[in-house]
């Protein structure tokens, strides 16, 4: 596929699982963040890029950076692997925790909860944003997603 002119570009790219939800870590070890939208009319805040406020229908919106730290609002544990086309590891499958993470901006975001003992999670536990590779797609791109993990020291 690659000719001489393009050879400077890496064949594999790091890409987000979905545009408009989070920014990619700019350098190895660098951090990305969740993208938020704030309505200037009603001050409601949303996860991701929106063009209309879901609350008051205003189009006077601004993009903001959502906090990296939140609290578990509620959670559950998926004891069986999700159905295809889930891209995580099913053999061996480790039960995954998922839950709503409440951010200080007043929005609850559904997220995987990672790097934890799923039997020891609790509501109100502090969690931090992680943006990391989740799988490789058919073209060999590294596909990243957002997740949360218990804050260090817990």
């Amino acid at each position: 596929m690659k000719d001489g002119v393009e050879s400077a570009e890496p064949a594999r790219k790091a890409i987000p699982v979905q545009e408009g939800l989070f920014t990619m870590p700019s350098s190895p070890g660098g951090k990305g963040h969740l993208i938020g939208t704030r309505c200037r009319s009603c001050e409601e805040t949303f996860f991701g890029r929106l063009s209309v406020c879901g609350h008051c229908q205003s189009q006077d919106l601004e993009e903001i950076r959502l906090s990296d730290r939140g609290k578990i609002f509620n959670y559950t544990v998926l004891r069986y692997p999700p159905p295809a086309p889930w891209k995580g590891r099913s053999e061996p499958y480790e039960p995954m925790a998922v839950g709503f993470v409440e951010l200080p901006e007043g929005v609850r975001v559904l997220s995987l909860i990672t790097d934890c003992n799923v039997e020891k999670l609790e509501n109100q536990m502090e969690v931090d944003l992680v943006i990391r590779k989740y799988f490789e797609d058919e073209e060999g791109n590294e596909v990243y997603t957002y997740m949360f993990r218990p804050s260090s020291g817990q």
Binding site: V17, Q18, L21, E44, F46, F47, G48, G54, H55, F73, N74, Y75, T76, V77, L78, R79, Y80, P81, P82, P83, A84, P85, W86, K87, G88, M96, V98, G99, F100, E102, L103, G106, V107, R108, V109, L110, S111, L112, N123, Y134, F135, V143, T145
Partner: protein
Amino acid sequence: MREVVIAGVGLHKMGRFEGKPYVDMACEAIQMALKDANMAWKEVQAAYCSRMYLPPTTGARVCAAMGLIGIPVWDVESACASGGSALRSGFQSIAGEFYDTALVFGVEKMPRGFMSPENIYDKWQCYIGLSVNPMYFALEARTHMDKYGSTPEHFARVSVKNHKNGSYNPYAMYQKACTMEDIMKSPLVCDPIHLLELCAPNEGAAAVILTTRQVAEKHDAQPVTICTSVVKTPLYPAPMIPPAFQTSAKIESPPLTTLAARQAYEEAAVGPEDLDLVELQDVAASSEIIYTEELGLCPLGEATRLLDEGVTEIGGRLPINASGGLLSNGEPIGASGLRQVVEMDWQLRGQAGLRQVAGAKTGLGHVVGAGPSCGVVILKR
């Protein structure tokens, strides 16, 4: 608006029917409904087909097999609320005097195992695994536990009740009672929900003939009145129903089911205290507890008390899911909401056999599905 009645109902058993075409299943339910209404196929002036997993134009294909009579046929889909949406479509077409007689039917043949999440969720949600329906039921159940002190045992007891009811229903997929131990020892799927507390995807068909009282009486049918049929989508913020992946921590609205129920009670001039039976969306056992409260059948946090006191059993003051609910019947999505309507029609006419709710005169049916949307119907004899 003029009065709309159900003149006849038909049902194909719920379950798995390998090799039996969906057209045959639907036609059996429709023939049964026509016979019940003492009507001929050519008296039907319009048809509404509820389906989700079957192909486009399912409704027209089924009606063609019934005989080409030139009527308009619409497929209606709103995930698990499809039956409620199709019923509303038929209801408004009679109430609004577009037609005198309409057929509303639902049919489904769902793939075995996990349903494809791509019908409901965005691709990225599927890729990272945030695409598991029971996960949403579990999150709602845990919120109810945190807020009101319900327990996994309460949810299991709902499943015991509904499976017991299902054992009296010859149309149910599972006609076998089970014990608390069977349920609590079945595999945990998403904490706190066990496998025997989740409804199964399956196959089935249901049909109802809607018409005016005058036409029904002319045919010597036993009409049941549709007091109202309501369909609602939520107010902001999004409830925790697939495919939502965010919600507001600042703003609260009444739950979607409450919005639909309030409108239905008002339009029907019927209150929760007037109901003799309820068929609701027990997609998970915990959902029955949550929707019992959201429908206003008791104050918030008191559905477990109703369950403990036997109020919601057949023989109790307000039997819920006397048919066995989705837990015993499975959920053939397109057919499920209309199966509830068929069940209530039989109950109100005193034809529900061993699971008959004595003296039932008024019933409420409830479906809620991804999108999300919610349907509530109130029937009266």
